[in-house]
């Protein structure tokens, strides 16, 4: 817990989601040498060939590559910093890359393969602080953050928690404390009336089950909450001329704001951001398949797979002239990571697909159950596709209402742990292990919740304080 290692670490410093460029930071002495494994310098002022040879505070143009295959991932600008004159006080490298989520992920993966681990939340700030790099003024600012939270106890765990969510958690916590107190009286004092105690114990059980149910709903809401901060990724997959681009244009062509449009340089995909019914969506068009024509079995699958990977939903385009085998093998290997795949019979204005029944039958064996026939040209059933997105988003929440979304991963982890411990507490009652055993698990559950509501102190809090800063800052 207090063993601060100084292994090289990396993280993306720019906000999650899509942006024009992203900055990935690497810190830790020796990190340059490690990053050599996944970097290629193309141009630098002093004609340096390796990242680690780059003098401090100079930049170089080059690219990040996969260290195992040497495949180019993205063209980037490298900046190197020498210890102790860097943000963290350690040797550092900053990589300015293109901003798509997939690019960022891929670069972090390459760094990981080179021996640079992902930073824990707030780890850069913590290192800066520990190495005396955080000025007195900054250190005081840290104190002020904490101090302001002393006054707003409900928000002890950070501003990411909405008022309604805080309220619900307080309610659950309060109910659990009540039951804990009740269990204590059963444990501490001999009963005078066994029937009365039995009835009271039933009530405790009911209340604990209810709290467990509510915690579960909150945890489910995290999936939805995450979308709010990171966007829902929808990939359009299909052969060239299967109608992807038309559909993309139709979906974005309505009066919806296009936030950014970035054409990737190393991967031939187009990402478009739009809002559907208030849901932030990123549409990914796998344009690369165009060049590979009908060789689905080779390159095409690889590229489509990459685009599809990490997507929350896939729209699989099936043009009228595609037969069942083509439809089946075109998607078979791509969808295993995705739990929402919709088969879209496109260009229905030019005629129905004669193999439709056969295709549906085959795709059903892959677990695809949603089939929609559209015509982007004639705006036919486009609203059904939108509904599919909306339904998917609603499902994610598992019934959690809008104000009750957990968006913070630390909170999520704590609630998952709390929920498991509460389940153990219930088991103890169900198996007649004794009220004190139930109380023990319940207290452990309350400790977890307390780390979110600010009622529990733990030695990890110093870490937690720094975790409250955005990762990589």
């Amino acid at each position: 817990m207090y063993s601060y290692d100084d292994e090289p670490i990396c993280a993306c410093s720019t906000p999650a989601g899509i942006s024009g460029i992203a900055v990935i930071r690497i810190s830790g002495n020796g990190c340059g040498k490690l990053a050599d494994k996944c970097s290629v310098i193309l141009r630098s002022s002093g004609d340096y060939k390796k990242l680690s040879e780059l003098p401090g505070y100079t930049c170089a143009f080059g690219y990040v590559k996969d260290p195992s295959t040497d495949v180019k991932v993205d063209e980037v600008i490298f900046t190197r910093f020498e210890e102790p004159h860097s943000y963290t006080g350690e040797e550092m490298v900053e990589i300015s890359s293109h901003g798509s989520g997939a690019v960022k992920q891929e670069i972090l993966k390459c760094l990981g393969m080179s021996g640079i681990r992902m930073a824990y939340p707030g780890e850069f700030s913590r290192r800066a602080f520990i190495n005396g790099k955080m000025s007195l003024a900054s250190a005081e600012a840290v104190m002020d953050v904490i101090n302001s939270e002393t006054e707003r106890q409900l928000e002890a765990a950070g501003s990411l928690m909405s008022g309604k969510l805080a309220e619900e958690i307080e309610h659950i916590e309060h109910d659990l404390y009540d039951q804990a107190a009740m269990l204590e009286t059963f444990t501490e004092f001999d009963t005078e009336d066994p029937d009365e105690e039995e009835a009271k114990l039933e009530k405790v059980k009911d209340s604990l089950s209810d709290c467990h149910e509510r915690l579960t709903v909150l945890c489910k809401g995290y999936g939805k909450g995450r979308i709010l901060s990171e966007r829902l990724r929808v990939a359009l997959l299909g052969l060239p001329n299967s109608g992807k681009s038309t559909l993309l244009n139709t979906l974005t062509g309505f009066d919806r704001a296009i936030v950014t449009e970035v054409a990737g340089t190393t991967r031939d995909t187009i990402e478009v951001q739009l809002n559907i019914n208030g849901i932030p969506v990123t549409l990914i068009d796998t344009a690369g398949i165009r060049e590979t024509d009908d060789i689905i079995e080779s390159m095409g699958i690889g590229k489509a797979y990459e685009a599809g990977r990490g997507a929350d939903m896939i729209f699989y385009m099936i043009p009228p002239d595609m037969n069942a085998d083509e439809a089946y093998y075109g998607v078979k290997d791509i969808i295993e990571d995705c739990d929402s795949v919709t088969a879209v019979f496109s260009k229905s204005d030019t005629g129905d697909n004669p193999y439709r029944d056969e295709i549906e039958g085959k795709l059903k064996t892959l677990g695809i159950t949603n089939f929609i026939s559209i015509s982007a040209e004639e705006d036919l059933n486009i609203d059904k596709l939108e509904d599919t997105i909306i339904d998917y988003y609603q499902e994610l929440g598992g019934g959690a209402s809008e104000g009750l979304l957990i968006t913070n991963s630390r909170h999520y982890t704590k609630f998952i742990k709390a929920s498991k411990k509460l389940a153990l507490a219930l088991d103890a009652l169900d198996n007649d292990l004794g009220t004190e055993v139930c109380a023990s698990a319940l207290r452990a559950c309350l400790d977890e919740i307390g780390e979110v509501t600010g009622k529990t102190v733990s030695a990890t809090l110093a870490d937690t304080i720094f975790s409250r800063f955005c990762i990589g800052k």
């Binding site: 292990l433 055993v437 109380a439 207290r443 733990s458 030695a459």
Partner: protein, 644 residues
């Protein structure tokens, strides 16, 4: 007063020099002096009356919920209460059998007179220990303000390197029965005068508490046919692990004396409510704060108005007396009302009261001025234990007594104090609560005060504390070797149960049927079978053919470890978190006024209490988790600065 000043008084004289002087020979003082003498220190034990050593002035019983755990812990450390309680028991029961093993608590009715006699005789024969009947009226210090001795009423000056005061309810005590107030100690014994003002003049903050005790009646005048009989039990472990090792088990139930239970009647309630104006508690005569958890009968009726009746236990005081104790019936109402109250109870219509009930008020030290080692923060070398620290109960007193004794000895030997933390024992919980949270009423131990209750069981106190007792020298090598043998047997048997598989035979089915469990489809380990509700170690005997005969305490420990495995793991995780905070030390010279971000209340409390570590700081009332975060960040900053 300094030793020099005391010796300058008229008629004062040098009476002797000791390593440790213990004042008060109740349960705390006996444990403290026993520990010091055992550790080889020249020790003197003062008492107001050698005939009332280790007196049981209230309940003639030892143990009970959470208190039974305390007794076993004192024994595991090498104390004497367990051995004495085993020797003088007239009835033994295991409370909370209907609950889980974590709260099983042994409890014994004791022969009160025998207990005192046995303890006195034992201490008289203890090497290094001197017993002395004397009235101590002053604590003496050296020129630097360290405790350096005590002075008696007769101006005898005893020098000592460390002083342990265990004054019980005696300091400036007053006995109250209705309007009648007597300046006296409990049970008609003399009170202690002057000692508390001597402590006060040294700057030690004092408090005043009250407690009480019920009437005693002659059993010849009791109609037991109107009462419910409560017999002792068989198959109960003794309090003392050393007795358990040697197979010295409590007497069989038929040789034990029964207790009896009754309920108060409507008449009882009427008598009390008609006479409430004569209660010194409600008239304001008693200023001391009474215990919430052991209230007087009038308190119970006033506070729980919806309860029309309360349970009373009628308990024997010993084998050679007819006196019976009315547990749950303590009162400070006038004697004439007490008579009416007792006569309203079933079976007690003709009761002859031999001793009247009373409330008692006494001086004590604010435990917030005491360290976790039980040494005073104000007068170095002074240790306090028992009711003087705000607790109530013999077991709580003994628990503090042994710790104060050990640490007075450590002080004399220039060694680090021994501190038992909250995860190691109820002793740790008790002392930590008193010295970090303080108390505004007599503090009674309860299982709910312990965070790690599943670990702090009566059956594993030796596992938790005997290694400590052995390290400091209170547990000898022979006992320790036997202890290690026991621990090893538990580990071996637990392992065997996990590795031994039982086939799903008809025989197993018949056994499982008795607790509504279904037969597994394939072989299942004995351990997994024991985890099922209702299945016990003993139940599986017929299908466990390689089982060797093992002592009951060993099989019980195996069964508990297996049945509660998942929950014990959870608790272990909690203990880890707890220890992480306890490990972060706060330098004694920390200037809290310079820590930005601390709230003023927290700053003041921390400056006053000077907690040794962040864990303790977090338990001080008025210090919030957010304050602790500020403190954690500050300490980390300091640490980095110091390490360059």
């Amino acid at each position: 007063m300094t030793v020099r000043e005391a010796l300058a008084l008229d008629n004062s004289f040098e009476a002797g020099t000791f390593d440790v002087a213990v004042v008060g020979a109740g349960h705390a003082g006996c444990e403290a002096s026993h520990a010091c003498a055992k550790l080889g220190l020249n020790t003197i034990l003062f008492t107001l009356s050698l005939d009332s050593l280790a007196n049981l002035p209230c309940n003639p019983s030892i143990g009970g919920t959470s208190k039974g755990q305390l007794v076993r812990e004192v024994d595991a450390l090498g104390g004497i209460m367990g051995i004495m309680a085993d020797k003088c028991a007239v009835q033994m029961r295991m409370l909370n059998r209907s609950k889980g093993p974590a709260v099983y608590s042994p409890r014994a009715q004791e022969d009160r007179a025998m207990y005192s006699v046995e303890m006195k005789h034992y201490l008289e024969n203890l090497p290094n220990l001197t017993l002395k009947q004397a009235h101590i009226t002053a604590l003496l210090t050296d020129e630097e303000g360290n405790a350096a001795g005590v002075m008696t009423e007769g101006k005898a000056v005893y020098r000592a390197k460390a002083v342990v005061i265990c004054s019980g309810t005696y300091m400036e005590a007053r006995i109250i029965r209705g309007e009648v107030i007597t300046e006296s100690g409990p049970d008609g014994l003399p009170r202690s005068c002057g000692l508390s003002s001597s402590l006060g003049s040294l700057g030690i903050p004092l408090l005043r508490f009250k407690t009480g005790t019920p009437v005693r009646v002659n059993s010849n005048s009791v109609d037991f046919s109107q009462m419910t009989r409560q017999d002792g039990e068989d198959d109960i472990p003794p309090f003392s692990y050393r007795n358990e090792m040697e197979g010295k088990l409590p007497a069989p139930s038929e040789e034990q004396i029964p207790c009896w239970s009754i309920w108060t009647t409507e008449e009882t309630r009427k008598v009390i409510s008609d006479n409430m104006d004569r209660s010194p508690l409600y008239s304001g005569e008693i200023k001391g704060v009474g215990p919430r958890y052991c209230p007087s009968i009038e308190d119970k009726f006033m506070r729980f108005k919806d309860k029309t009746r309360h349970q009373i236990f009628v308990e024997p005081m010993g084998r050679h007396t007819n006196e019976m104790y009315l547990q749950g019936f303590s009162t400070s109402l006038p004697e004439e009302i007490q008579e009416k109250m007792v006569r309203s109870l079933p079976g007690l219509a003709d009761a002859k009261i031999q001793r009247a009930a009373y409330a008692i008020e006494y001086d004590l030290v604010d435990p917030l001025s005491v360290k976790a080692s039980l040494e005073s923060k104000i007068v170095p070398g002074l240790f306090t234990a028992g009711q003087i620290n705000g607790s109530s109960g013999y077991e709580e007193a003994a628990a503090q007594g042994i710790v104060a004794g050990i640490n007075a000895a450590m002080k004399c030997l220039c060694k680090e104090p021994v501190i038992i933390d909250r995860s190691q024992g109820y002793i740790g919980v008790l002392i930590d609560d008193l010295v970090t949270k303080g108390t505004n009423e007599p503090y009674r131990m309860m299982t709910s005060r312990a965070e790690y209750r599943l670990f702090l069981r009566q059956d594993n106190a030796d596992e938790r504390l005997t290694p400590i007792g052995h390290r400091i020298g209170l547990i000898d090598d022979e006992v320790f070797a036997k202890f290690k043998e026991k621990i090893e047997s538990i580990a071996i048997e637990t392992e065997r149960l996990k590795k031994t598989y039982v086939a799903p035979t008809d025989e197993l089915k018949a056994l499982l049927d008795t607790c509504n469990q279904t037969l597994p489809k394939s072989g299942e380990s004995l351990a997994d079978l024991i985890k099922r509700p209702g299945v016990t170690y003993d139940l599986l005997a017929p299908v466990d053919r390689n089982r060797k005969p093992l002592a009951r305490n060993i099989t019980f420990a195996c069964e508990t470890n297996i049945k509660y495995e998942g929950y014990l793991a959870l608790e272990k995780e909690k203990i880890e978190k707890f220890k992480n905070l306890e490990k972060i030390r706060i330098p004694e010279d920390t200037d809290y006024s310079h820590i930005r971000g601390l709230r003023i209340e927290a700053m003041q409390k921390l400056s006053k209490m000077k907690p040794e570590n962040v864990g303790r700081a977090s338990r001080i009332s008025g210090v919030s988790p957010a304050d602790c975060e500020v403190l954690l960040v500050y300490l980390e900053q300091q640490r980095r600065r110091e390490n360059g």
